[in-house]
Amino acid sequence: MRSSPFWASAVLLGAIPVRALDWVPLLDSAFLLGQTYQQGRATSWQGNASLQFTPAVKLSDRLALIPTYSGKYQGSKNAAELLGGSQLFQDSQSHSVSVKGVWRVGEFKIKPSAGYRWEMLRETKDETWGKGLFDYRKPSAGVELERAFGQYKVGAGFDYYEIRFPNYSSLDSSQFGGSLGREQSQGHTLDSRNLSGTLSGTVPLPFEGGAARLALNLTERSYPEQFVVVESGGLSAEKRQDDSKSASGTFYYGRSLGSSVAGLFSVQVMLSRYRSNQNHYDAELNLFNKDYYSYEERSVQPRIALAIGERRVEASLSYLWIERDYLTRLAQVGSGSYTEQTVRLTQSSFLADLGVPIGAGFKAVSQLTVSHSQSNMRYEKTFRYNYEISSALVGLSYSF
């Protein structure tokens, strides 16, 4: 046949993507050692390790299955994670399994997913693995719908998840607190049920290499065992109900910087508003604070990421600024007395990451974080609002 070379080529060309697409393994792992410095004190060297494995399966051109295991051990937290007054003596491990389907229907992608995460923490000397007060489990399920219009992409997602603290129950409801407790107190007051909806879109910006991702999220959070505190200090029959609304925009600009450097510049801006019907009663000072948990938050994170040279050395610098204003929560002075001001919390972090490929999928990596937290809240007996903290981690990563 005269045209056989042509059609043979065509078959080969068509065959390139078909072959070996039945499954693709993805692996990402890292081991880091580091120290944290808080108030001039350094912790001993502690290690972090993480492993993430995905055997992505292509069942057909229309259907793919993406199961993932992600596990992490943290013996030393980076400074950004410690923002919020966590203890220095702390290690944790988390395990997460999930499966996501990607189903192409015409121009749409439908992506159902389900997952389960559990995290264990050892915050004090007397806690052992699995017995941490704030160990939690999170079952989740959701579905996303996505449609691409050329370079435009829009998506909608809906998720349901629960957060359960199996080792935490209110003392008020405990066996011994019962005789001293309040009539309506219940045990698992921190457990919550969450419904979350997200709309997102990715659009090209009117210059080469520019793109933006915009997202809106609404989360309804209910606490089935937490009653609302009332002005008299007692509990009402009403249950706690929170909602969170957020809008975020991330703007990217990627381009070559000379012949051997690729750069990605991004800025993420987020606004969020959290509302809760839960109040607070300070039993020591007999002060009732309505809508104690409601706040508004703003954050900005500019970031520069570079891939340098033929070895693709990766370097990134970013700065994170977060400001949270509680709407009614009153700031306190050091002794605990209340002021007229509401609490404002400002946190900032400078983060520098470096990854140097050393061959065969291995990289030498380092992470440096310097964080600063400032607030008009000066009552810091059990939670630190004003401090500086930094961390330095070095190690190896391996991925394929």
Partner: protein
């Protein structure tokens, strides 16, 4: 986001080889010199050429999201690759292209004998060794202009689907293919291995990102517990959970409860007071003058109270009844706690001071009274806790079978219930030990620790060297207070409470 995105963005900004099989070479000029492409992805600069060896292939991505696969023995030049214009030259071999739809962008594939102008299309081009060009449009529309100036549209049902352009000869349609209907898009093979890996990687990143956002709710819940002081670390590095709340057993009563839990024990403290009248919804005004008031008499005062400290087996209980107001000029400057301002204030000597005194008091260990007081015979209301004032008697070991005595003098009390305070940790540690002993050999020991934020025993240096007075007490409010109680009746057990000093001050346990 991160490097995965960076790769995407880099790929979006520049043409790149995303997958290679066999021998794939690159050169700055079509004439060479050629260098082997070591790995994918590999960015292709405008003007560079690519060639594939026998049984070799390559997949490229272009800035406008278009994709091209090159077959074996192909020679290909990226003449121009911008978002607004793409121009490629295929001088030999076969290529298959998936061209993204885009307004205002030109996409042209040149061959030695024809130029294909493309508008959102999947098509095949093959240049054989005789420079004969074969074109098949699988979907979309391609306009072809030959070197002889002929123009024809292919594809999408509006024209021809495939043709052969032979050098120096007019267009030639393959036999039996004229006017055929557009073929359906291939059912398989639209994603390369690299693309699927990238897509899977992005989905994993999105999934883990979502997982982290959801998990943040758990972090918030934990932080709130710390912020509200419901959990802290004690002097021995152990977690102490604390819950404090009030209940209203009756209209004229309130009970303040502090619960402590550690991994191996549960302790609690409570203070219940009955007032001279029904309490308001907002308690603060009624509780403000529990420790006394200058000026006019307070509207609310306590007529009876009860405090309890327990480890759920053992208990220390105090009760007071017959509460009444007494207005007495202060004998000396006195430091008093003001719950309204949560601070200590010095009241000058001589100021009239309203105080609640209780006619009857009882201190019981595991239910048996070891100490108490009462009015002397014939006295209705005690006017001062002072033996020299009229009508104050104490009871030592007043419980049944303890062989107690009633004292009408301080000397009697000190003989039958001596007490001493020591500092077991030395002068540099704010750790006091008060030992109370009784004539029957029984005892109670109160170990009191002032604990810093980190759960360490504070030092007088933390108080600026001041160890008493208003400054000391004001500073004390910034610390936690751990009280460990031992008693002969506890049989080796203890009551171990971590509690805020102002709770004990407010309830009269600390003056």
């Amino acid at each position: 986001m991160g490097w995965a995105l960076l790769m995407v963005m880099a790929a979006a900004a520049e043409p790149a080889l995303q997958e290679i099989q066999g021998v794939v070479e690159i050169a700055d000029k079509p004439s060479g010199p050629w260098q082997r492409v070591p790995r994918a992805p590999w960015v292709i600069a405008p003007g560079q050429s690519i060639r594939t060896g026998a049984a070799s292939a390559a997949a490229l991505s272009l800035p406008d999201d278009s994709k091209i696969n090159l077959g074996p023995n192909a020679v290909f030049t990226m003449e121009e690759a911008r978002k607004s214009a793409v121009q490629l030259f295929l001088s030999a071999g076969a290529m298959r292209a998936w061209v993204a739809k885009s307004f205002g962008r030109s996409f042209a594939v040149k061959t030695p004998t024809a130029v294909c102008s493309v508008r959102g299309t999947e098509f095949l081009v093959d240049v054989d060794s005789n420079r004969q060009v074969r074109i098949e449009v699988l979907s979309g529309l391609v306009g072809v202009r030959t070197a002889l100036g002929e123009e024809v549209e292919l594809g999408d049902g509006r024209g021809l689907r495939n043709l052969i352009v032979i050098p120096d000869r007019p267009l030639e349609l393959p036999a039996g293919r004229q006017g055929s209907r557009p073929a359906a898009a291939p059912a398989r093979g639209t994603l390369t291995l690299q693309e699927f890996k990238k897509e899977a990687s992005q989905e994993v990143a999105l999934g883990l990102g979502k997982d982290a956002v959801q998990a943040a709710a758990a972090v918030e819940a934990r932080r709130a517990e710390y912020q509200e002081g419901k959990t802290l670390v004690d002097a021995f590095g152990k977690r102490v959970r604390i819950e404090e709340y009030i209940v209203r057993p009756a209209a004229d009563q309130f009970k303040f409860v502090v619960l402590n839990q550690r991994s191996d024990r549960f302790d609690y403290f409570y203070y219940q007071a009955t007032f001279n009248q029904a309490l308001p919804v907002v308690l603060a005004p009624a509780l403000r003058y529990l420790n006394g008031k200058t000026g006019s008499a307070p509207d609310y005062y306590v007529t009876s109270f009860e405090t309890g400290r327990s480890n759920t087996i053992d208990s220390i209980q105090e009760t007071g009844t017959g509460g009444h107001l007494v207005n007495t000029p202060l004998a000396e400057d006195t430091v008093l706690y003001d719950p309204g301002s949560n601070s200590f204030q010095t009241v000058a000597a001589g100021a009239g001071f309203w105080q609640t005194l209780f006619n009857n008091y009882s201190y019981r260990v595991n239910g048996a009274e070891k100490y108490g007081w009462q009015p002397a015979a014939g006295v209705t209301d005690i006017t001062a806790y002072d033996y020299t004032a009229t009508g104050f008697n104490t009871r030592i070991l007043g419980g049944a079978g303890l062989g107690g005595v009633t004292c009408a003098t301080l000397a009697c009390e000190q003989t039958n219930r001596p007490s001493a305070v020591t500092q077991p940790g030395g002068a540099d540690k704010l750790h006091d030990r008060a030992t109370i002993s009784y004539s029957n050999g029984s005892y109670e020991i109160y170990d009191s620790y002032i604990i810093s934020d980190e759960g360490e025993i504070a030092s007088p240096r933390d108080f600026g060297g001041v160890t008493n007075g208003a400054t000391y007490k004001s500073t004390l409010l910034k610390f936690n207070f751990q009280q460990v109680i031992y008693a002969s009746e506890f049989q080796g057990r203890k009551i171990d409470l971590v509690i805020e000093p102002k709770i004990l001050i407010n309830s009269g346990v600390i003056q």
